[in-house]
Symmetry: C2
Subunit: 309 residues, 2 copies
């Protein structure tokens, strides 16, 4: 067990709401940037930790898409919240599950005493990349951000285990092909516009996920000699409206996991930490001891953390 605890948390969604039937989505206005959103979540997290920014020893930005191609988004956030200070800024990316990878890395740093207080922020502005012609994804995603401050925990709190697997046969099921070195921004034309927008093969992802998630979950629990009954709450990535159906399939009862897809949609990298932060804000985790953070991500990656709080 790597002893960590969350001592600060902050979540943020833009004011602007869009409704698709009964589905509520949040979309930034034109002036609001990914960096702005992340800065708001960071400031809330630091304030709730009752720390001064100078007491943060490391900033990790764990978002799916970068604000600029260079430098790291964490540097741009550092500039807004910590200019003049010199704590390191690092980007960690496993797309939608970046927060879990970052939390896992943070737990290793804390366990070995490399850093004391670590700020992790995950936030994506999907509205900058959605394709209006792809109804399924266009109506699914929300902009949002969430940040936590983690530090050394007591002996009964922390990460029991983390597990990540990447199934690269699914690499191209979720992608934004353009913008990086394979198809640079300056190759954009009206004809290839779709390459610069989010592209999700929803049905294939669902089929692949349904095939690989059960094995992952079984392996993850069994290597810890745990059954699902010993987990108090699962915070899954709010991947899609199929979340309930998938959980049914795994025979996980409704009261055992959070499904806010109707209210918030899929917030990309912010989905899992957003739910976590909201629950912490509302005091809804006070009677919970063992939670599981769990999510599928572009890559195709599956990521899980069992966390005692």
């Amino acid at each position: 067990m790597r002893n960590i605890k969350i001592i600060g948390y902050g979540s943020y969604v833009p004011e602007n709401k869009v409704m698709f039937g009964n589905q509520t989505r949040y979309r930034a206005n034109n002036e609001e940037t990914q960096v702005d959103m992340n800065v708001k979540a960071c400031n809330k997290a630091i304030e709730s930790a009752k720390l001064d920014i100078s007491q943060i020893d490391l900033i990790i930005c764990a978002s799916a898409v970068m604000a600029q191609l260079l430098p790291a988004t964490s540097s741009l956030i550092h500039e807004k919240i910590a200019k003049g200070l010199t704590m390191p800024a690092i980007d960690v990316n496993t797309s939608c599950s970046s927060f879990l990878t970052a939390l896992d890395i943070a737990s290793h740093y804390i366990e070995l005493g490399t850093y004391k207080n670590i700020l992790i922020v995950s936030g994506d502005i999907c509205s900058k990349g959605l394709n209006k012609n792809q109804k399924e994804s266009y109506e699914l995603f929300s902009d949002g951000s969430a940040a936590v401050v983690v530090t050394k925990g007591n002996e009964n709190e922390g990460i029991i285990d983390s597990m990540q697997r990447t199934y690269s046969e699914g690499t191209h099921l979720t992608e934004i092909r353009g913008g990086g070195t394979l198809e640079p921004g300056y190759e954009y034309t009206e004809q290839n516009k779709a390459d610069y927008l989010f592209d999700m093969k929803g049905k294939e992802i669902l089929l692949t996920t349904a095939r690989i998630v059960p094995t992952f979950l079984n392996d993850f629990l069994s290597r810890n000699n745990l059954s699902i009954d010993e987990i108090d709450l699962i915070i899954p990535h709010q991947a899609s409206k199929a979340l309930g159906m998938i959980m049914d399939r795994f025979k996980i009862p409704k009261e055992k996991y959070i499904n806010w897809v109707d209210d918030y949609g899929n917030m990309v990298s912010a989905s899992i930490p957003f739910v976590l932060c909201k629950l912490l804000e509302n005091g809804d985790l006070k009677d919970k001891h063992r939670i599981m953070l769990f999510g599928t991500a572009a890559g195709l990656t599956i990521n899980g953390i069992i966390l005692d709080i």
Copy 2:
């Protein structure tokens, strides 16, 4: 000390050479991609480690610029070298010093037994982003890639200490503003083309670096009770032709560090691991025990690792 050792290494530069006066630079041809280059370095590293890909427990891609906006570049590499296997793929980004951050993270994973054999690859294809109108940077950079496999080391080998600091007052001194969420690919026009290309304020970086590097180096050595004489060799980021001048200023003699800027230029994230791999390939580190990896990076980040080999 976190005991790790490098058991495999591989470096790669494209065949195509370009000369600027006496300066040799390497530039990929149009068919060669960043992913291709990284795959070549990875395959060499795995082969030299005498491992099968199935024995790699984690793939970290530590490059400065992404191949696609989504998913992580490590997934695209995973697809080429490990399709059908499920080891996790993670991107870590601190621009030019990404390799050091990744090596540091790997050392924490190995120290706590989370992963055994970790493949780290750093490779950038700068030729996709250079601005012909900015002579200084256009004539400085090379495409290249380097990969290592690290595993548990013996008790006298590994990372003595790592230190990273980010000075975000220098965030905008080196950047590619376009391509991410702040200025998406689809906003590209002929008029704003420069935003989608690499932009470096060389003189300001040199001035900032000259101011902050001495303090960083002094702090890094003194917190380890080491003097520069106790380091056998420094592998610095091959930042620019000013490397020799800067090292002179720190009174570091020529035989104490590698300066291959004339022969290879600045390979972005691959610079430090490329030199490291070449030295290992050539057996040039056999009489060395304590080396320092050291570099400045966009962010502005300074990164150092003292490694006993």
